[in-house]
C-alpha cells in the first residue's frame, strides 16, 4: 500500500483535478498501446518520467521503490520473449542461438525490450497518478466532476481505508499460524502455500465481520439517507488543468494517425 501511496506535495500534478488527471492518464496509455516500437515506448516513458521528477517533484528514491515492481515484471516478460521467440518458424528471422525449446532471435529480443518499455511507460503514468493523488480528493472529484453515485464512490473509499488494516491483520494471522507450526518458517513454495491456505478462512471471517461492523456504523450515521451528501470540499477544475489535458489530445491523435492509419504500428519485424 505505502509503496504506491500518495506523496504529499503542492505541484501542478498535485493540484490537478483527479478526474481530469485520470483522463490524461487514459490519453497517454492510449498513445503507448498504439505502437510496438521500442524507441517510441521509451520516449513516452522518458517523457512521463521527466514530468514526475521535474514537475511533480517526487523524490527519486521514493519513485524507485514503486517502479521496481514493474521493472521486475517487465524484465521477466522481456527475458521470456527473448528466450522463447515466437518468430522461430518465420522466414527472414535472425536466429542468434537455438537449443531445444530455447530460441533466441534478434526479433524476439527486440520485441521483449519493446514490451518492457511499454510496461514501464504505462506503469510510470499510473504511478504519477497514484503518487500525486490524495484518495480523498479522488473520491470527491469522481463524485462531483465525473458524476459517480456517492454510495459507490464512498464504499470504495471506505474499502481503501481498510487496506492497511487488512495488511496488518494478515501479518498477525500469518504469525499466529506459524506459531501453530503451519508452514514452518514460511520459506519455500510448499510451506508458503500451506500457510496461505490456512490463513484464508480466518482472514475472510474477520473481513466479513469487519465489513458488517463498518456498514452498521456507517448506517448509524445516516449514510445513504439522501441521494446526495453535503459537499464540503468542492472539487474544482482549473483552466490550466483542462489546457494541459487537452494539449495532449492532438499528440495522441497524431500518434493514432501515424501508427494506425499509415500502418507504421504493425511493422514489428524489420
Amino acid at each position: 500500500m505505502a509503496r504506491f501511496g500518495y506523496v504529499e506535495g503542492t505541484s501542478f500534478f498535485h493540484r490537478m483535478d483527479p478526474t481530469w488527471k485520470l483522463l490524461w492518464n487514459l490519453v497517454i496509455v492510449g498513445m503507448v498501446i498504439l505502437s510496438f516500437d521500442l524507441l517510441y515506448a521509451l520516449a513516452c516513458f522518458l517523457y512521463v518520467f521527466t514530468l514526475t521528477m521535474v514537475v511533480a517533484r517526487i523524490p527519486l528514491r521514493r519513485y524507485a521503490r514503486s517502479i521496481t515492481v514493474f521493472l521486475g515484471m517487465g524484465l521477466f516478460i522481456a527475458l521470456w520473449k527473448s528466450l522463447y521467440s515466437a518468430w522461430a518458424g518465420y522466414e527472414a528471422v535472425h536466429v542468434w542461438y537455438a537449443w531445444g525449446p530455447i530460441n533466441v532471435t534478434r526479433e524476439g529480443v527486440y520485441d521483449g525490450a519493446a514490451t518492457m518499455a511499454r510496461v514501464l511507460a504505462i506503469a510510470s503514468v499510473s504511478l504519477l497518478f497514484t503518487l500525486t493523488t490524495d484518495p480523498a480528493r479522488l473520491v470527491d472529484s469522481l463524485i462531483q466532476v465525473a458524476g459517480l453515485p456517492h454510495r459507490i464512490g464512498y464504499t470504495a473509499y471506505a474499502a481503501l481505508r481498510f487496506i492497511p488494516l487488512y495488511e496488518s491483520e494478515a501479518r498477525t494471522i500469518k504469525q499466529a499460524h506459524q506459531i501453530r507450526g503451519v508452514g514452518e518458517n514460511g520459506k519455500g513454495v510448499l510451506p508458503k502455500l500451506r500457510l496461505y491456505r490456512s490463513m484464508l478462512v480466518p482472514l475472510l471471517v474477520s473481513g466479513i465481520r469487519r465489513a458488517q461492523a463498518t456498514s452498521i456504523a456507517m448506517d448509524s450515521r445516516a449514510f445513504g439517507a439522501y441521494d446526495r451528501r453535503t459537499v464540503v470540499q468542492k472539487a474544482e477544475v482549473s483552466p490550466d488543468t483542462k489546457a494541459f489535458v487537452l494539449a495532449h489530445v492532438p499528440a495522441a491523435a497524431a500518434a493514432f494517425y501515424y501508427f494506425v492509419m499509415l500502418g507504421h504500428g504493425v511493422q514489428i519485424v524489420r
Binding site: A2, P135, A136, Y154, Y157, A158, L160, R161, P164, L165, T172, I173, Q175, A176, H177, Q178, I179, R180, G181, V182, E184, N185, S198, V201, P202, V205, S206, R210, A213, T214, I216, A217, M218, D219, S220, R221, A222, F223, G224, A225, Y226, R228, R229, T230, V231, V232
Partner: protein, 575 residues
C-alpha cells in the same frame, strides 16, 4: 418529571435465523440528561439493546421483534435509520471498524454531510465535536496514524457531530491501556455534564465508573435484572452481581460488601476508593489491622532462568524502532506480567522470544535455545503463544482436531495424542463442543480453545497476549485457574495485559515497558511503592491499593500495601 427520551416496552427480539431471543421482554425508560451505566456478561443483549434504540434493529438487521421502542415519542418501527441516527448515536467497541474515512475532519463531518446540512454547519459541527473530545489539533490528520485512544475520541466526536439526544458508548475502553481508559471515563463524564446529552455507557471495566453515574442497569440473558441507583443497588445486590452473574463490581464495592458482612455497617456505601477510605476511616475505632497489616509476599528464591535475553533491539523494516536494549530474565515457575501502554513494545518483545522476528542486535537464551539462531518451529515446541484474538490462530475444522494439530505436527504417537487431547478437552470444559467448528464457538469457548491448543503441547513457557479481551470475570477466573494448575506443574506463565486486577491476583513478577525499553522489572508488590513506574507505564493501580494508601494517610490506620481485595479484607479485624 420530564417525558422520557427513550421508552422501551415489552421488547423481545430474535436475530434473523435465531431460535433464542437476544432480548426478552425489556422495559426501560430513559430521561433526558441521565448518565447510565449498563453492565452484563458478554452475549447478554447489551449491544442488541443499543442497536434497537437507533433503529438498526429492526430496520437494517431485520429479525423478529415484539414490543415497542419509542424515541422521543416516535415508534422506531415506522421511522427510518436516518431519522433516528441524529437522535441516538452509538460509538462502537472497535474504533477501527467504525472509522471509514482517511482524514479526521471527513470522519467527524461524515454524519452531518449525510444529513445534507449546509457546508458551514458541517464545519461548525466538526470544530465543536473535536473540541468536545479535546482533539482540535487532530483535524487534518490521517486516521490510521492515530493512537488507539485518539481513534476512540475521533469516533466519539463523529457521533457527537450528529448532535444526538442520546449517546451510547459500547465498551469504549476495551482496546485502551489503563491510563487512556481512565482519561476516557473523565471525558465521558465531562460530555455528560457539560453538553447535557443523555449517556448510556456499556462497560466491563467498572472500577472508575460506578461513582460517576446516576443509574445502573444490569442485564442477564436478554433481560434487565436490575435498574437502580448504583449505591443502593451495589449494597443490596452487589453479591448477586458478583457471585451469580459473575460480573466485575468496583473493588470499593467489594470491600464495602465484605466489611459489612464482617459486621461493620458503613454509613454510606462506597462506590470508589475515595468513598471507601472515608467510610472505613469514619469507623476506624472499630477496625484493627492484623499483624503488620501487609500481605506482601517474600520474594521467592531465585530459580534457574528460563528466559534470559540481553540488550535486545529490534527495528521494523519501515524504520520503527520497537525495542531498544531490552534485557530480561524470567525464572522457571514465575507468573510474569508484561505491562505498558499500547505501542510500548510488549508484543514485539514476545514475537522475538518465540522467534517470529529476529533481533536487530542482542540475543539470549529461551528454554535453552539461542533465539537468534533457532527457528519458530524449534522455539514453539518449548514456548507457547496464545494470540489476543483466538480466531487468528485456528487452523482446523473441529475443536478436537484443533487441539490435536500441534501434537500431530510434532509427530507424537496417536495414542498419546488422543490421551492428551481428551484431557485438554476436559480441563477446559470443551467436551460438549469437541465436534464443532472452532469458529462456531462462543467467545469464551474460543478463548479456552486457543489456550487448550497451546497447553496440550506442555511447553516450558506459555505467553498469553491480552487474555482478558472479551472475557467476563467468571470465564477469566476459570481460565486463570487452569493456568495456575499448569504453573504448579512447572509451566512459566507470561501475561501481556492491561488488567491490573488480574496482575495483582495472579502474578508474582512484573515487567513494565515504555517506548521500547524495560523501565522496571521486579516483584508485583514493589509496584505500589514505585509511583514513577506506574506513571511511565501508563498504569493505574488497583483501587484497593489506593484505598490502603488513603487510610494510612488520612485516617491514620497503620496499614501496609495491598493489591487484592481478598488480602485487604483478611487483614481487617472488626471489633
Amino acid at each position: 418529571m420530564t417525558n422520557p427520551i427513550v421508552r422501551v416496552s415489552g421488547l423481545t427480539y430474535y436475530y434473523e435465523g435465531e431460535e433464542q431471543p437476544a432480548l426478552r421482554d425489556v422495559n426501560l425508560e430513559v430521561h433526558p440528561g441521565e448518565f447510565i451505566l449498563l453492565i452484563g456478561s458478554s452475549g447478554c443483549g447489551k449491544s442488541t439493546l443499543a442497536l434497537s434504540l437507533n433503529g438498526i434493529i429492526p430496520l437494517v438487521l431485520g429479525g423478529r421483534i415484539k414490543g415497542r421502542v419509542y424515541i422521543d415519542g416516535t415508534d422506531t418501527r415506522y421511522s427510518s435509520v436516518h431519522e433516528l441516527s441524529p437522535r441516538v448515536g452509538i460509538v462502537f467497541q472497535d474504533p477501527e471498524s467504525q472509522l471509514c474515512n482517511l482524514y479526521v475532519d471527513e470522519e467527524v463531518g461524515f454524519g452531518p454531510s449525510n444529513l445534507l446540512l449546509p457546508p458551514a454547519e458541517v464545519e461548525r459541527r466538526v470544530d465543536r465535536a473535536l473540541a468536545d473530545v479535546g482533539q482540535k489539533d487532530l483535524r487534518r490528520r490521517l486516521i490510521y496514524e492515530l493512537s488507539g485512544g485518539q481513534k476512540q475520541r475521533v469516533a466519539i466526536a463523529s457521533v457527537l457531530a450528529m448532535e444526538p439526544d442520546v449517546l451510547i458508548l459500547d465498551e469504549p475502553t476495551a482496546n485502551l491501556d489503563p491510563m487512556a481508559a481512565t482519561r476516557m471515563f473523565d471525558l465521558v463524564e465531562t460530555i455528560s455534564r457539560e453538553t447535557g446529552v443523555t449517556v448510556i455507557l456499556i462497560e466491563h471495566n467498572v472500577d472508575r465508573v460506578m461513582q460517576r453515574v446516576d443509574r445502573l442497569i444490569v442485564m442477564a440473558e436478554g433481560r434487565i435484572v436490575g435498574d437502580e441507583h448504583p449505591r443502593s443497588f451495589m449494597r443490596e445486590r452487589g453479591r448477586f452481581v458478583l457471585d451469580v452473574l459473575g460480573l466485575r463490581i468496583p473493588q470499593a464495592c467489594e470491600v464495602g460488601l465484605r466489611m459489612e458482612e464482617k459486621g461493620l455497617r458503613l454509613e454510606s456505601f462506597p462506590l470508589d476508593g475515595i468513598e471507601a477510605a472515608q467510610a472505613l476511616g469514619s469507623r476506624s475505632e472499630r477496625i484493627r489491622v492484623r499483624e503488620n497489616g501487609s500481605h506482601l509476599r517474600r520474594a521467592p528464591q531465585r530459580a534457574e532462568p528460563v528466559i534470559d535475553v540481553r540488550d535486545l533491539s529490534f527495528t521494523y523494516p519501515n524504520g520503527t524502532e520497537a525495542l531498544r536494549d531490552v534485557s530480561l530474565r524470567i525464572d522457571r515457575g514465575d507468573v510474569v506480567a508484561i505491562l505498558g501502554e499500547n505501542g510500548s513494545g510488549k508484543t514485539t518483545l514476545s514475537s522475538l522470544l518465540v522467534g517470529l522476528n529476529e533481533p536487530t542486535s542482542g540475543g539470549g537464551v529461551v528454554c535453552g535455545l539461542d533465539i537468534a539462531s533457532s527457528s519458530v518451529r524449534e522455539l514453539s515446541n518449548r514456548i507457547g503463544y496464545v494470540f489476543q484474538y483466538p480466531e487468528h490462530q485456528f487452523v482446523e475444522d473441529t475443536v478436537r482436531d484443533e487441539i490435536a494439530f500441534g501434537l500431530r505436527a510434532q509427530k507424537q504417537p496417536a495414542a498419546k495424542i488422543a490421551e492428551r487431547v481428551t484431557r485438554a478437552l476436559r480441563l477446559l470444559d470443551l467436551e460438549d463442543v469437541a465436534h464443532k467448528h472452532p469458529l462456531a464457538l462462543s467467545m469464551g469457548e474460543k478463548r479456552r480453545l486457543s489456550v487448550a491448543t497451546m497447553l496440550v503441547l506442555e511447553t516450558d513457557v506459555l505467553i498469553l497476549d491480552e487474555p482478558t479481551t472479551g472475557q467476563d470475570r467468571d470465564s477469566m477466573d476459570n481460565l486463570m485457574r487452569v493456568m495456575m494448575d499448569a504453573n504448579r506443574l512447572g509451566t512459566t506463565v507470561v501475561l501481556i495485559t492491561h488488567d491490573m486486577d488480574l496482575v495483582a491476583r495472579y502474578c508474582n513478577q512484573v515487567v513494565v515497558m515504555e517506548e521500547g525499553k524495560v523501565v522496571f522489572q521486579g516483584p508485583v508488590e514493589e509496584l505500589c511503592r514505585s509511583p514513577w513506574v506506574i506513571k511511565s507505564g501508563s498504569l493505574v493501580l488497583p483501587e484497593v491499593c489506593e484505598l490502603a494508601e488513603r487510610l494510612r494517610r488520612n485516617a491514620g490506620i497503620p496499614i501496609g500495601d495491598f493489591l487484592t481485595v481478598d488480602a485487604f479484607v483478611e487483614a481487617m479485624e472488626v471489633s
